[in-house]
Symmetry: C2
Subunit: 344 residues, 2 copies
């Protein structure tokens, strides 16, 4: 076996949902888009339902189909991209709830699926998805007459608690939805941590469930162990890897491990990154290649069968920092070649 | 449908194999590791076999199993990671040829699969995989007595034709293999372009098959069209996306398209990137988010149903440049949510 092992702790996932649920003044949903942030919607969905989640969110209707198969009837599955041309059969067949983003989507929905449940996504200032205030004003009476399931919006700067944009979006959302007797939702993980005034009727945690920042108290969910294929001594002056990117200054013990950027280990992390073994940090040397990474294991008395990249000694956010990105991207980039082991 | 469409032109793939075959003085194989550089080993493998390839290379034994199912018996499938503990059943069951990297792997192979074909990977200076000269000297007579299928090594700097490392590795490879009556292989795509002395008996093109540099004459294989979910006008002073990363200087028409870093559109490309429509470049604005990207479409008289990221107007290498990486990483990061269409 030269494929790496990705261990996904579903009990930690459930524990994170319960911890965020305790922090939430409202009902707590679960965002499982992008294949549950790369961890497997067919496993994560049922685990979160088991923990108590009854409202799920996906990015596109096709993900809703996969989730419905995993969950069965019962939980509500809402779709952030709304109702796109060609989606009607999927929405009806899997009983999905599109979050309508525009007048065009509203018209498409009532024409193709009259009476089918829908929510409304409002733009409170991020300018990415959802109806603008003027659009909403024009459509609001017609939409409300059909009793939408939810009025929701999304925060642009929730990971920065002191950013003035948070209060601006809160005010805008209150202006757009105040006095309407329909459940409301504004907060994802970051919004939950901003406090109760952001919680409304339903929160939608995503990254925090999977062990990522900004939920600093998250239980780690992912462990990634990468097998060592081969170990060699590299003498001073010898180079390692593509472009001779590393040149040894002294005799260095080099392990070649069996994963690379084709497995989502982002090439940009390069020689800033470390693997670990029993807490010992082991620097990556040279470039990350497609299927292989070279690691300085000189500090180890004996080279083990595998080195750890993500786990109790290094979070997804630490690894993200090596690549100059965020934990979300590390999670959603985890590749298809891993041997995936689910702990239940 | 809010999933993007990834169109993979298998006739272009075949044309690239034939073009590299014409440049090659030797037999021409095909590297299909990492799921055929992200394009689908079950489709790319048979297409390349149809073009004439009879020797295939994968990174790990599990990929060999998938390829054998696609190809049937006949073509040789060699495994770069060699023979790892636990691989014997896969190697025997799928008739794979491990490329032995070390004395340890050699011992494992002869103990678990005596008489089963193998090749030998030699380290000619990259210090990543393969036997060192001293190791090879010690093992060579024993290995040759069992008639390996191939002696191979890999170039570290073949993408830079003038790098002195190329000649150094060529000399080292000749020293390690000269006078041995076993087929030899040194060149991948870059090595083919270095000239006939690098070709030996078998070349192993990879990235060039899939339309990537350094094969400048490659036919593009991939087109990526991303649907527009919604379009809005953003007034001067308004911000777009996470962290308010973009602030409009004048009224800007913004399209939100349905793909993001969870689909392998590397977050680092950010606002350096462009989409295109009929050759018109359309700048990304704000941050790439998980499932969505915002694009300035002010230049278009009418917003189409989808914008193109990769295709005839922008190669995988152009897109790679936006993210400060290489075309290889763009290809192997292409995600699982796309609607994949194969042209044959």
């Amino acid at each position: 076996m030269s494929t790496a092992t990705l261990t996904i702790d579903l009990t930690a996932l459930s524990a994170n949902w319960r911890a965020l649920n305790r922090l939430s003044e409202a009902e707590t949903g679960a965002v499982v888009k992008a294949d549950a942030y790369g961890l497997g919607i067919d496993k994560a969905g049922p685990a979160l339902a088991g923990a108590g989640a009854r409202q799920f969110f996906v990015a596109v209707a096709e993900e809703g189909l996969a989730l419905r198969r995993a969950l069965g009837e019962g939980p509500r599955i809402s779709v952030f991209s709304g109702h796109m041309p060609g989606d009607a059969d999927l929405i009806r067949g899997s009983n999905l709830t599109p979050l309508i983003n525009s007048v065009d989507q509203m018209l498409l929905h009532v024409e193709t699926l009259p009476g089918h449940p829908f929510g409304v996504q409002l733009d409170s200032g991020m300018n990415r998805l959802g109806m603008e205030p003027a659009e909403w004003s024009a459509l609001r009476d017609i939409a409300l007459a059909q009793r939408p399931t939810l009025l929701m919006s999304h925060l642009a700067c929730a990971d920065e608690p002191n950013h003035p944009m948070n209060a601006q979006q809160l005010n805008r959302f209150n202006e757009m939805t105040g006095g309407i007797d329909v459940p409301r939702s504004l907060a994802a993980t970051g919004g939950i941590l901003l406090g109760a005034e952001y919680h409304f009727d339903l929160t939608r945690p995503g990254v925090g469930l999977y062990g990522g920042l900004p939920f600093v108290d998250a239980t780690p969910v992912v462990t990634l162990d990468v097998p060592v294929i081969q170990t060699r001594n590299v003498e001073a002056g010898e180079s390692v890897g593509y472009g001779n990117a590393f040149v040894a200054e002294c005799m260095t013990r080099v392990a070649t491990v069996a994963a690379g950027y084709a497995d989502g280990l982002i090439r940009a992390m390069g020689a800033q990154a470390c693997f670990t073994h029993l807490g010992q940090k082991l620097p990556v040397i040279g470039r990350v290649s497609m299927d292989l990474i070279t690691v300085d294991v000189s500090a180890l008395p004996e080279v083990p069968e595998a080195l750890e990249l993500i786990g109790q000694h290094q979070s997804v956010d630490t690894v993200a920092g090596y690549a100059g990105t965020i934990g979300y991207e590390i999670l959603t980039s985890l590749g298809a070649r891993y041997d995936r082991v689910y702990l239940t």
